[in-house]
Symmetry: C2
Subunit: 245 residues, 2 copies
């Protein structure tokens, strides 16, 4: 016990703070804090290790991109047994598109961890996605493939990957629900409000009622996302009655 306490105590105050923030972000206890520090270090700082090698997130980005690709590939392979090789490749490109990765990085507010000599306004939008990939690389080096896979499911696949949307069959679940309610002469209500709780990142919640009855709830980092999440749940609740063609 004393031994364990000693290890924990040898961490600097700064590391201790990062450890706690990472624990909340990652949903597990990180071990090798140095890997995450590297994932959050921009090349503009021009940091070098004792051998003169640059220390920044670019190499981790290479690693994370590849691990992310394989986790998404395996997910798609199992999720869409009817998909051809071409279909799977196309779907994967959509999921790991620069635009989508930037959005994921922004959602997790990763920029707040980044150390850089460049002004936030001048780093460019791609930094969000790059850091997201580097973070995946760091998780892989810290905890291995399984933990990485779990992180990707929790932060990419479960909340955001939607085959119907990716296929372009549904562009907006909210739109679909409203259209269906209007056709069926049902009254619908989206009750959306800020609901950040104790979290650092702003969150929104929404309750969707149909004909005065609560059908589904949603919660996410933007109003639009929370509404889409709740609407998707409404869609699944009435799936037999709602046609998407």
């Amino acid at each position: 016990m004393n031994f364990i306490r000693k290890i924990v105590k040898t961490r600097s105050e700064e590391d201790e703070k990062l450890f706690n923030e990472l624990k909340q972000l990652l949903n597990f206890s990180p071990r090798k804090i140095s890997k995450y520090k590297k994932a959050f270090t921009h090349s503009s700082l021009q940091i070098q290790d004792i051998n003169g090698n640059p220390v920044n997130y670019e190499r981790l980005e290479f690693l994370g991109d590849s691990i992310l690709g394989s986790v998404i590939s395996a997910y798609l392979y199992k999720k869409v047994p009817t998909g051809t090789e071409g279909y799977l490749t196309k779907m994967r490109s959509k999921i790991v598109s620069r635009e989508h990765l930037n959005e994921l990085g922004k959602d997790l507010n990763l920029l707040s961890f980044v150390k850089s000599n460049v002004d936030e306004a001048n780093v460019g939008d791609n930094i969000h996605g790059n850091i997201f990939e580097a973070l995946i690389g760091a998780i892989y080096l810290d905890k291995g493939y399984q933990t990485c896979q779990k992180f990707i499911y929790e932060n990419v696949i479960d909340p955001y990957v939607d085959i119907e949307k990716l296929e372009g069959k549904i562009t907006s679940y909210k739109g679909l629900i409203i259209e269906w309610c209007q056709k069926q002469k049902k009254k619908y209500k989206f009750d959306t409000y800020e609901d950040s709780g104790n979290e650092n990142i702003k969150h929104f919640s929404v309750k969707v009622s149909i004909d005065g009855e609560l059908v589904a709830k949603g919660r996410s980092t933007s109003k639009k996302k929370a509404e889409e999440q709740a609407s998707k749940r409404v869609y699944y609740a009435f799936q037999n009655q709602i046609s998407i063609n």
Copy 2:
């Protein structure tokens, strides 16, 4: 015990044969034989499952390609700590090039497993690499990432990946050794002979002697590869004396 024997016995004779061949090929006991059967099924057979979905190796090829990429990325990340993102990307492309994968598939004689309606002469050279990738996909589905990684180390990285060669610093270890011996006025001898033992695939062995003393041995599926392997070992034995610039 009886229960286990019963499971084994329910395998058909054909599956039993495939199981034994796979065990030799993979260096572990496969569980889900159907995955490997799919990896060896060409689309020309036009096989469909009960839902009308095509059964062939193309989807597994998509999966295997992605898993292979991530294992190679992680290997390179750790192996070359000085390599930039661009360097790592370039090295990975060389390792997973179509040409290299075809060579790997040929080495393992994977075509002998393939069921196809197309003449062997007409399937094209890429089938070797495609089947190799599909096999990796099947291993992933059967046994998971760790076993896949082990297979890739045993069949790609350990025998064939050589950073010095990939960087173009050394094009042939045999050439390097001969050149060095000539400069140093040393007598060298490559004693190369067929050495297939009990294996299905033809193998060659080589003994390299310098000034009458055996320095290194090599064994592989071609004379050239066996000689390169042995020469590389000679290179490492004399590394302090041989300059590659």
